[in-house]
Symmetry: none
Subunit: 258 residues, 2 copies
């Protein structure tokens, strides 16, 4: 569609979710994701281990002038690092088998997301690589899951199209909705960040390793996946994580003291 | 996003609108439009005077296997011919100045469209060339106009992205309406019962009591309240509670064994 000649009404800056692309393959897709984001008023893009490195000339070309985003892309080695300062990540996938997390449609997820960001919660929306989508280990550290029930005979969305759908649903609720009533969660600013949960889970893993909890090295990855899933499904406050640490300390100190 | 492993439910054929691309320039965009359409269950694609002729190998490549559409594309010399057998065409544009037609958002237009097609009306949705969008002469023969109020500072959508948004809104109303609400993990019947959580919390309390976790009897009720709050905010599966029990056992058995 061409640029608008409609009466100009600038969008005021409002709190927004971060878009995170995990191991994206094609630079063109990264650029088109940026364009789609900016179409919908989203500006924060993070990349985890982009295949062809960064910066990527192919991405710049495909972004069609979305410089505001492209000049401020942040790059990380792992999803955990990319989400370290966020309170909650929403993973996107079409593989729902065995998923023990809340699953939202794009519309429901973005309504929830907008409610959260408005009250100061930092949200991330996570997209996997073009060919395979998010790994289970990525999904395990996302607090909830977004899935769009598209044509069951042909449901593989192009990466930039997936980013557009989600960004569009966010813009509909955050920018275009006239009088949609959303329940404001009373300003809760104490949700733990990703790095706090990561630290707790690492410590738990170390302690359990020492206690022989995982039985064998072969069993460990699966058990660890379950642990990550069950502890990331809900948001914790920083204080609650301190309580969990306190429990671990209480149980292990006495033990090691003997 | 990857292909779905979700329970397979084929979409039954239902009446659908036709997508019409007027003077499209890039073959890649035509192919990506086809892919986006099929993602959303739309299969009828018509082209008016495609710049590079037809068939177009670049379009086939970009369609990612949307052969059902690509093998049945119809090509016309003019929009009038492309719409000759249709009852109503909806033109898409972002240039609203001087428009004397009903203007709909994508959602409203597709609700209207679905109501019409269901009752046998043949509808077409018309998209202009990448660089300029639809001419006024094209819009003049469309019965209504669709416009998406995107970021006023950056509202130029890629052609395939525009087709996706509209197709997606059609699929939402025509295909996903019943699936719109938050899905609580389809068919998951293994949520723990209250008594299982109570049993876990009692055991945790006893162990922590023994370890002196609560410091004093005065502090205990408040700490206990916090523990109950944080462990009941989310639902656990029975298996997850068993894992939590396993952690407690693992940490305390070693301790009591010494």
């Amino acid at each position: 569609m061409p640029r608008s000649n409609a009466p100009y009404v600038q969008w005021e800056p409002i709190p927004q979710p971060v878009i995170i692309l995990v191991r994206p393959q094609m630079g063109e897709n990264i650029g088109m994701c940026a364009r789609a984001m900016l179409n919908c008023g989203l500006t924060e893009l993070r990349l985890v281990a982009p295949r062809d490195g960064w910066p990527n000339p192919a991405a710049i070309g495909a972004s069609s002038g979305a410089d505001l985003i492209m000049n401020n892309v942040k790059v990380y080695d792992s999803l955990e690092e990319a989400g370290a300062d966020l309170n909650h990540m929403i993973g996107t996938t079409n593989r729902l088998r065995g998923m023990v997390k809340p699953i939202y449609t794009a519309e429901a997820a973005m309504k929830h997301c907008h409610t959260e960001t408005k009250s100061g919660v930092r949200m991330g929306i996570v997209f996997g690589p073009e060919r395979t989508g998010l790994e289970n280990t990525d999904l395990a550290i996302c607090g909830s899951v977004l899935s769009v029930p598209l044509n069951p005979d042909f449901n593989s969305l192009n990466l930039a199209q997936a980013v557009l759908l989600v960004s569009y649903e966010w813009a509909k609720i955050a920018r275009m909705a006239e009088a949609e009533d959303l329940q404001e969660i009373p300003g809760y600013s104490e949700w733990a960040k990703g790095e706090e949960l990561t630290f707790f889970l690492k410590r738990l893993e170390q302690i359990l390793d020492k206690e022989g909890f995982f039985r064998t090295e072969e069993l460990k990855p699966g058990v660890l996946l379950n642990l990550h899933t069950m502890f990331t499904r809900q948001k914790w406050t920083s204080q609650e994580l301190q309580t969990l640490h306190g429990i671990l300390t209480s149980l292990t100190t006495d033990f090691t003291a003997k």
